[in-house]
C-alpha cells in the first residue's frame, strides 16, 4: 500500500470537490444539493481519520515527508469541522449570489485538503506545497464577491500572500543550504551536528520563516492585510480565513520550530521573538479593535489579538519536556476553542448582516428583540472570546497562560491578562448594543436552518467544552506528546 491510504482523507475531500463540479454540470437543476455533497466528502474524510484512531495505526510514509500521528489527526478533525461549518454558513450567501455555486464549494474543499495535508507534513517542500494548495483557492475566494471591495480584498491578499510565500521559500532554501535536507528531524540532527557555526544564516532563515508563517497567523507586523481583507471578502470566506489558515499556520509552526529548530542556541531566540510578537499583537490588535465601528474589521483586529494569545503558547515551548507539552497542548486547545468560538461569532454575523444589510456595530442595536437566537449565540461567543467562564475560551486562555508562567514568561502573562480586560471592552460593547439598544425595526426574523445548525453546533461546543473541558484537553495533550520525544 506504499502509504497512499494515509492521504485518504485529503483525497476524499478532493474527490468530493471534483464530484461537486461534475454534479453541477450534469444536474444543473439540483444545485441545492451541492453543499450536501461537499459535507458528505468531509464526513468521509472524518470517518477515514477516525478509522486510524480506532486502530491506533500511526505511521510515517513517503520517505518521511508525511506523518500520520495523533497530532495530524487532531488537526484533521479541526479542519474538517471548520470547513463543514463554513459550508453550512455559506449556503444562504451562495444561493443569494446565485452564480458559480459548484466552483465555490469546490474551492472551499480544496482549501480544506491543503490544510489537512499541512497537518501531517514533515518536510519543507511538502509544507510549502500544502500551504500553497490551501492558499491559492483562498485568494480566489476572497475576491469572490461581486463588489469592488471584494475584488480589492482578493487582489490584496494574493499579492501580499505571494510576498509571504516567497519569504517562506527563501527561508526554506537557506535552511536546506545549511543542513542539506528538507525533512524536519534530519534538519534538527544536522544543526545539532555543527550548525552553530552557521548561526547567522540560520537566524536569517528563522526570521524569514517567522515572517512567512506570521503572515498566515496574522500577527504584528505581518497583519496589515487582515482588516481590509476581512471587511472586503465575503463573510463566510472571512470566517474561513480567520480560523482555518490561522490554525494551520500554528500547526505547522509548532512542528517546524520544535522539530527542526529546537536547538538551544536557536530556540532561545525564537522563543523571545514569539514572546515579543505575542505581546505586541495582543496589544495592538485589542487597541485597534476598540475604535472599529465595522464588526468585520473589529473581528479582524480581534483575530490579530487572539493570534497573540496563541503565540504566548508558542513562546513557551522552547524547552523540551513538560513545558513543551503544556505550551503546545495549550495552543492546540486554543486552536480548537477559537475554532468553535470565532466561527460561531462569524456565523451569527453572517446571518445578521445579511438580514440588516450592514456591518456596522451600531446597526446591531436591539438584535435581542428582533432575533434572540442569533443575538444570544453571538453574545455567548463574544463572552468566550473575552475568556470568561463557563466558556471554552476561558480554559484556553488559562491553559496557555499557565504554560507561559511555567516557562518563566510572567511579564508576558501580565500583558496577556491586561489585554483580556481591554478586549472585554469591545467584545461586551457589541453585546451591550445588541441587548440594550433599541432596534430599528420591530420586525422579528429567524435564522435559516443551515445557519441555525451551524450556530447551535458551535455554541454548544463553546458551552459543552466550557463546562467539561477535559476531553478536549486530553486530546490536545495526547496530540502533542508524540512530538515531545
Amino acid at each position: 500500500m506504499n502509504g497512499i491510504d494515509v492521504l485518504g482523507p485529503q483525497i476524499s475531500v478532493l474527490v468530493a470537490a471534483g464530484v461537486v463540479l461534475v454534479a453541477d454540470a450534469l444536474f444543473p437543476g439540483q444545485r441545492r444539493l451541492l453543499p450536501f455533497l461537499a459535507l458528505a466528502g468531509l464526513l468521509t474524510a472524518a470517518l477515514w481519520t477516525t478509522s486510524w484512531v480506532g486502530r491506533g495505526d500511526y505511521q510515517t510514509v513517503f520517505d518521511g515527508t508525511i506523518v500520520l500521528d495523533r497530532y495530524a489527526v487532531f488537526f484533521q478533525y479541526v479542519f474538517a469541522g471548520v470547513t463543514a461549518t463554513v459550508i453550512l454558513a455559506s449556503i444562504d450567501w451562495v444561493n443569494r449570489e446565485g452564480r458559480r455555486q459548484s466552483e465555490y464549494y469546490a474551492l472551499v474543499l480544496t482549501v480544506c485538503a491543503g490544510l489537512m495535508l499541512l497537518a501531517g507534513a514533515r518536510d519543507l517542500i511538502t509544507i510549502f506545497i500544502a500551504l500553497e494548495l490551501s492558499s491559492i483557492p483562498q485568494y480566489i475566494l476572497a475576491g469572490w464577491g461581486k463588489d469592488a471591495k471584494s475584488s480589492e480584498a482578493g487582489l490584496k491578499y494574493l499579492l501580499l500572500g505571494a510576498v509571504a510565500s516567497s519569504l517562506l521559500l527563501y527561508g526554506m532554501a537557506l535552511l536546506y543550504g545549511v543542513t542539506g535536507t528538507t525533512i524536519l528531524p534530519e534538519i534538527a540532527a544536522a544543526i545539532e551536528a555543527g550548525g552553530e557555526s552557521y548561526r547567522a544564516l540560520l537566524v536569517v532563515a528563522m526570521t524569514l520563516l517567522i515572517a512567512g508563517f506570521g503572515f498566515k497567523m496574522a500577527v504584528v507586523p505581518f497583519q496589515m492585510w487582515v482588516p481590509d481583507v476581512y471587511q472586503g471578502a465575503p463573510t463566510p470566506v472571512a470566517a474561513f480565513l480567520s480560523v482555518g489558515s490561522k490554525a494551520a499556520a500554528f500547526a505547522v509552526a509548532i512542528r517546524v520550530f520544535f522539530e527542526a529548530l529546537g536547538a538551544d542556541f536557536l530556540s532561545s531566540d525564537w522563543s523571545m521573538i514569539f514572546a515579543v510578537i505575542a505581546a505586541v499583537s495582543m496589544t495592538l490588535g485589542n487597541l485597534m479593535a476598540i475604535v472599529q465601528s465595522d464588526i468585520k474589521r473589529m473581528l479582524g483586529y480581534s483575530s490579530v489579538a487572539q493570534a497573540g494569545n496563541f503565540l504566548v503558547g508558542l513562546a513557551a515551548i522552547s524547552v523540551a519536556g513538560e513545558e513543551f507539552i503544556l505550551g503546545a497542548s495549550g495552543i492546540l486547545l486554543f486552536v480548537a476553542a477559537y475554532a468553535f468560538t470565532n466561527l460561531g461569532a462569524f456565523v451569527a454575523v453572517i446571518a445578521i448582516s445579511q438580514r440588516i444589510n450592514s456591518d456596522r456595530i451600531a446597526d446591531y442595536a436591539g438584535m435581542w428583540k428582533t432575533s434572540p437566537f442569533l443575538a444570544l449565540g453571538l453574545a455567548f461567543c463574544l463572552v468566550s472570546l473575552t475568556g470568561i467562564p463557563p466558556t471554552v475560551g476561558f480554559w484556553a486562555k488559562l491553559y496557555v497562560f499557565n504554560a507561559a508562567v511555567r516557562a518563566d514568561l510572567v511579564w508576558l502573562v501580565v500583558i496577556g491578562v491586561l489585554n483580556s480586560v481591554v478586549s472585554a471592552y469591545y467584545y461586551l460593547g457589541v453585546v451591550r448594543v445588541m441587548f440594550l439598544g433599541e432596534p430599528g425595526t420591530e420586525q422579528r426574523f429567524r435564522a435559516s436552518p443551515s445557519i441555525a445548525v451551524a450556530l447551535t453546533a458551535t455554541a454548544a461546543g463553546v458551552l459543552l467544552f466550557g463546562i467539561l473541558p477535559m476531553p478536549l484537553m486530553s486530546a490536545a495533550r495526547d496530540a502533542v506528546e508524540v512530538l515531545a520525544r
Partner: protein, 651 residues
C-alpha cells in the same frame, strides 16, 4: 465520592447531607430556569417562582446553620474531581463551616425578603419577568461562591456574580446612565478580578492546589517564601477590593444605584459587595501569615471608610447617601480584617447586611411615594409613612452604633480590634463613626421631618415612567413592601445579641485551621466612647437640620473647598474617565494607532486616489498603493526581527 475529615481543631463535623448543600444552589437555579424558559411573559407567576425558589434555599440554609451549630462550627467538605488534564486537577465540591453557614443565611434571608418586596416595587414594570430571572441567577451565583470549597470554583462563581450584577445594574437599560453604570461596574470590578486571576495562577503553580484548607495551610506552614504569600494575598485582596468597592476601585458602586432599588438592597448591601470581605475572611490565615498584606488591607479599608464617609456627608440623593455609607462600612470590615479582627469583620458583615438592606428598601419605599430620591424634594414624610419612617430610624440607629442595636455590637468589636492593633486605625474608625451617625440622621431629618416639599411630579409623557399614584400626596407603601421592612427591623435590632458569651466568635473561629486569638469581645471603655461619638454625630445633625442653630448652607460656604472635593468625589471619576479612559487611552492612544494604521500606512495613497480619479482607475491605484505599503511593512518587520536578534544576541 470523597469525604474529607474536618480540621483537627474542630471537634465535630457537621452531618449535613451534601445533597442539601447542592440543593441550596439548585433551588434558585431551578427558579431561574423556569422563569427564563417559560414564565418571562407571565409576570404574575414569575415573582412567586422566584420567591419559592429562594425561599426553599433559605429554609435549607437555616437547616444547615442549625446543623453546623450542633457541630460547634466544624468543617464538612465534600469534594470530587471535576476533571484532570495533565497536571491540572480541578476539584468540584462544597464546604460548609461556621463562616459558610452565616453567609448562606445572610444571603438567602436578604434575597428572600428582597424578592417579596420586589413584587410590590416592580409592579407594572415591563421587564418584570426578566427582573426575577436575573435575581434568581444572581442568588445562585452568590450561593455557589459561598459554598465553593476551592479557589477555582470560587473564581468561576465570582465572575458569574459580576456578570449578573452587570445585567441587574443595567436593568433599565433604556436609561443611558444605567447602561453606563453597568458597564463601569463590570469593567472596574474586572480590573480587581485580574488580581484574583493572578492569585489563582500563582497558587496553582506554586502550591499546586486550589483547595481552601490546603491553601490556608500552605500559607500558614511557612513552606512558601513570605514574599510569595504576600503576593498571593495582595492578588486576592485586589479581587476583593474590586467587588467590595474599596479605594481606589470604589467608583462603580455609587453609580450602580441606577439599578432598581431592591437590586441595590440585595447586591450592593448584603451580598455581592460582601463577597470581597468574604474572600479575604475565607483566606484569613494567608493574611495572618503576611503582616505586610494585612497592613495593606487595613489601611486601604481605613482610607475607603473615611473617604466614603466624607462623600456621604454632602449627597442630596438619599440612595447615594446609602451607597457611600455602604462603601464606608465595607472599608470598616476590611480595616477589621487587616487589623486581624476576623470575627469582628464577619460579625459586622452579618449585622450590616440586615440593617443596610432595610435602609435601602426603606429608601425604595420613599421613592415609591415621592417618585424621587432627591432629599431636597422630600421632608415631613414621617406622618405619611409611619412604618417606613420607624423602620428607617431603627436601621439608622443600628448603623450609627447605638446600644443595644445590632450595629453597636459589631462596630464596637471592630473599634476594639483597631485599638489594640494600631491607634491610628482606631482614630480613623472613630471619626468615621461620628460621620456615619451624622449623615444618617441628616438624611432622616431631611427626608422625614419638616414639611413636605412636593416630590417629583410625574412626567406622563415619559414612556419609561411607570409611577403610580400622586407624588403630591405621598402614601405608605403596600404590604408587600412594608412586611419585608418590618421583618428586617428584627435582625437590625437583635442580630448583635449573638455576641453574648462568645457565641458568634466560637462559631466562626472554628472555620479557621488554627486556634488563636482572632477577635476581642467587649470592653466597656470602647463601648462608652463609641456611643458618645455616635450620639454626638446624631446631636450635630439635630442642631443643624432640626433646631437650625447653624444654617447648613453657611457651613457649606465656610468649608467650600472641602465640600467641593467631597461632592466631586475627590475628582477620581474625572481622573479615571476624563483623563485615563477618554483622553489618554481612547482619544490619544487608540486614535493614534488607528491613524498610523489607516492614514500613514495606506491613507496617503487613498487620499491621492480620492482626489480625482475615475472609479475604475482609482480602485487599481488604491490597491496597488496600499499593497506596496503593506509589503513594505512586512519587509520592515523581517529586518527589525533580524536586527533585534543580532543586537540581543550578537553573532
Amino acid at each position: 465520592m470523597l469525604f474529607l475529615a474536618a480540621e483537627p481543631s474542630a471537634a465535630l463535623t457537621p452531618t449535613i447531607d451534601q445533597a442539601v448543600l447542592w440543593a441550596i444552589m439548585g433551588c434558585p437555579l431551578a427558579a431561574w430556569g423556569l422563569i427564563a424558559l417559560y414564565l418571562r411573559k407571565l409576570p404574575a407567576i414569575a415573582g412567586y417562582a422566584a420567591i419559592l425558589g429562594i425561599g426553599a434555599a433559605m429554609l435549607l440554609s437555616y437547616v444547615t446553620l442549625f446543623n453546623v451549630i450542633d457541630a460547634s462550627g466544624g468543617v464538612a467538605q465534600y469534594t470530587r474531581e471535576w476533571f484532570t488534564a495533565g497536571d491540572l486537577t480541578v476539584p468540584i465540591g462544597v464546604r460548609v463551616d461556621g463562616l459558610t453557614a452565616v453567609m448562606l443565611v445572610v444571603v438567602t434571608t436578604v434575597a428572600f425578603l428582597v424578592q417579596v418586596y420586589s413584587t410590590g416595587y416592580m409592579q407594572g414594570d415591563p421587564g418584570y419577568g426578566r427582573y426575577f430571572a436575573h435575581m434568581c441567577l444572581f442568588t445562585t451565583s452568590m450561593l455557589g461562591l459561598v459554598l465553593a470549597d476551592n479557589l477555582f470554583q470560587m473564581f468561576i462563581f465570582w465572575e458569574l456574580v459580576g456578570l449578573c450584577s452587570y445585567l441587574l445594574i443595567g436593568f433599565w437599560f433604556h436609561k443611558p446612565s444605567a447602561a453606563a453604570a453597568a458597564k463601569k461596574a463590570f469593567i472596574v470590578t474586572r480590573i480587581g478580578d485580574l488580581g484574583l486571576l493572578a492569585a489563582l495562577l500563582l497558587v496553582w503553580t506554586r502550591a499546586g492546589t486550589f483547595d481552601v484548607t490546603a491553601i490556608q495551610e500552605w500559607a500558614a506552614s511557612g513552606e512558601a517564601k513570605s514574599a510569595l504569600v504576600t503576593l498571593f494575598a495582595l492578588g486576592l485582596f485586589a479581587g476583593a477590593a474590586g467587588k467590595s468597592a474599596q479605594f481606589p476601585l470604589h467608583v462603580w458602586l455609587p453609580d450602580a444605584m441606577e439599578g432598581p432599588t431592591p437590586v441595590s438592597a440585595l447586591i450592593h448591601a448584603a451580598t455581592m459587595v460582601a463577597a470581597g470581605v468574604y474572600l479575604v475572611a475565607r483566606f484569613f490565615p494567608v493574611f495572618e501569615a503576611s503582616p505586610d498584606a494585612a497592613d495593606v488591607v487595613a489601611w486601604v479599608g481605613a482610607i475607603t471608610a473615611i473617604l466614603a464617609a466624607t462623600m456621604a456627608l454632602v449627597q442630596t440623593d438619599l440612595k447615594r447617601v446609602l451607597a457611600y455609607s455602604t462603601v464606608s462600612q465595607l472599608g470598616y470590615m476590611m480595616l477589621s480584617l487587616g487589623a486581624l479582627g476576623y470575627v469582628a469583620a464577619i460579625f459586622h458583615l452579618f449585622t450590616h447586611a440586615f440593617f443596610k438592606a432595610l435602609l435601602f428598601l426603606g429608601s425604595g419605599s420613599v421613592n415609591h411615594a415621592t417618585n424621587t430620591f432627591d432629599m431636597q424634594k422630600m421632608g415631613g414624610l414621617r406622618k405619611h409613612m409611619p412604618v417606613t419612617y420607624w423602620t428607617f430610624v431603627i436601621g439608622s440607629l443600628s448603623l450609627a452604633g447605638i446600644f443595644p442595636l445590632a450595629g453597636f455590637w459589631s462596630k464596637d468589636e471592630i473599634l476594639l480590634d483597631a485599638w489594640r492593633h494600631d491607634r491610628a486605625l482606631w482614630a480613623i474608625g472613630a471619626v468615621v463613626a461620628f460621620m456615619t451617625a451624622f449623615y444618617m440622621f441628616r438624611a432622616i431629618f431631611l427626608t422625614f421631618h419638616g414639611t413636605y416639599r412636593g416630590g417629583e411630579p410625574v412626567d406622563h409623557h415619559d414612556p419609561d415612567n411607570h409611577f403610580h399614584g400622586d407624588p403630591a400626596h405621598p402614601h405608605e407603601s403596600p404590604w408587600a413592601m412594608k412586611a419585608p421592612l418590618l421583618a428586617l427591623a428584627i435582625p437590625s435590632i437583635a442580630a448583635g445579641w449573638f455576641a453574648y458569651d462568645h457565641m458568634f466568635k466560637d462559631f466562626i473561629e472554628a472555620a479557621l485551621p488554627h486556634e488563636g486569638h482572632h477577635g476581642s469581645s467587649f470592653e466597656i471603655g470602647i463601648a462608652v466612647s463609641s456611643t458618645i461619638i455616635a450620639l454626638a454625630g446624631i446631636g450635630t445633625a439635630y442642631v443643624i437640620y432640626i433646631r437650625r442653630w447653624v444654617d447648613s448652607s453657611s457651613i457649606r460656604a465656610t468649608f467650600a473647598p472641602f465640600a467641593l472635593v467631597f461632592e466631586r468625589k475627590y475628582f477620581l471619576d474625572d481622573l479615571y474617565e476624563g483623563l485615563f479612559v477618554r483622553n489618554i487611552f481612547y482619544r490619544g492612544w487608540c486614535r493614534l494607532l488607528e491613524t498610523v494604521d489607516r492614514r500613514i500606512v495606506d491613507g496617503v495613497v487613498n487620499g491621492i486616489g480620492q482626489v480625482g480619479r475615475a472609479a475604475s482607475s482609482r480602485l487599481r491605484a488604491v490597491q496597488v498603493g496600499e499593497v506596496q505599503s503593506y509589503g513594505l511593512g512586512v519587509a520592515a518587520g523581517v529586518i527589525i526581527i533580524f536586527l533585534a536578534v543580532i543586537v540581543a544576541n550578537p553573532l
